[in-house]
Amino acid sequence: MILAEPGQLISISRISHDPNVSVMLEEARRYPINYGQGEEVFRLSPDLVLAGAFTSSYTVGLLRRLGVEVAQLPIANSLDAIPGNIREVGLLLGREVEAEVVVAQFEADLASLRADRDRATRAALHYANNYTSGENSLAHEILTAAGFANIAAEAGLSGGGTLAMERLVMLMPDLVISGQPYPGASRSEEVLRHPAMEVLRDRHAAHALADAEWVCGTPAVLRAIARLVDLHEGGS
């Protein structure tokens, strides 16, 4: 949506209309959505389909057999991978110049945010089911770019994984950043409101929520970093 020319984008994933994970909800509401099913996407007769690395390989194969060009983009696991993805989309859409502008802006903003900090404040990411992100993950890079030490990396976790609540408590993070709860109830999310976690959260005046801006490798991660930097400087 950032890169496409008006009229170039004809349909977007249903996820972009989900306020929990979409960073461009307002803009997204202007486009019709699809549910990623081969039949409905083919009926739109697109020249190009942009798919993620986790899009069903059957759907991708079906569309390719039907003669639709499908480009699969890798998941950005680091801040450094974001410019590459932006450039690739620019190339696919024939909008290389616009892509370079976005990349330049992104890199300049990131550099200004990524000042040298002591990393003495230790933060824990805590999602439903005690899921967290260790080294080699985008969330870890967002944390460290904002000057926090990630507790999951301290516990030796690489990529995403679960960290038992007992272990998380024993590591005594200074700041707990919780996942944003979805509507409806679930036992998985009950851990976010567990009394032990409430005690940890109350130790720090500030409170942070990991939301849509954390999920995908887009320039929106800068907003997440900026908010954390404010928190870091306000707290110390």
């Binding site: 439903a128 005594m172 979805y182 109830a185 679930s186």
Partner: protein, 328 residues
Amino acid sequence: MTRALLPLLGVTVAVLFAASLMIGPAGLAPVQALSALIRGDALAETLVMREIRLPRAILAVLVGAALGLAGAALQGYLRNPLAEPGLIGVSGSAALGAVLALQSGFAALHVLALPGAALLGAVLAVLVILALAGPRGGSITLILAGIAVSALAGALTSLVLNLSPNPFAASEIVFWMMGSLQDRSMTHVWLAVPFIALGAMVLLAQGRKFDALTLGEDAAASMGVHLGRLRLALVLGVASMVGAATAVAGAIGFVGLVVPHILRPLVGAQPSRLLPASALGGAVLVLMADIAVRVILPTRDLKLGVLTAIVGAPLFLHLIYKTRAQGL
């Protein structure tokens, strides 16, 4: 042996309770753990002991006692060793009630809404089972009715969780059908305690009446046992205990089957003595299962029902074989 049974079971519960407090991924030394639990000196250790491990151990005792006692009471009333809250669909219906309360938002309105809804689900299931396989119904009717009630409750639970807007809800079907005590809190303990205590008092008070019932309904009635009142006490007692246990821990099967079966010969097959023994025995079994899931797979949330079913299902088959041989 029979005289020493209750104290022996009590000591076993205490030992396992202590063991349950000592085991966990945080790897605390026993002395350190005890000092944190009692004196509350170090913040991290105290949080782990008081907010994570203590509620888990207490709930294991409560849930186990509830399931063991409910199983013994159902078997006493129906005079059938196959009656068990999980197998006859009482736990499954309680889970359905709990899931409906959670997903409709009803549970957020009042603290008692969640256990209340689970209790209501359990009451309905007990009533259906008693209507179909009451005192004169045979084992076949009981088991068939149980299968139907369990299947329906399980299907509706899955349906409700699949319809939930929450992306995690559908993956929790396993929790509601198998049960777990992972990451429970003191809130859950306070939620379950009153219902389980009330149910236990109601059921334990019926011991003598169950004894009389072993001689047959007519004999019991001539001894002054009011069967209607006994049935009411059974329905409310079982539903209250199983409802509260399921609302906080999911449906854990086979506890009410295995425990009374093992203890029955030790109490001379006397229901009034089997009831308290089964409550303690249930606590022992669930504590053991909950310790085992943490030792076998410390990093994953292995469900309690997996272990109780591995122990309980073969025994269940054995019991079916035995009752068939007796021509019941």
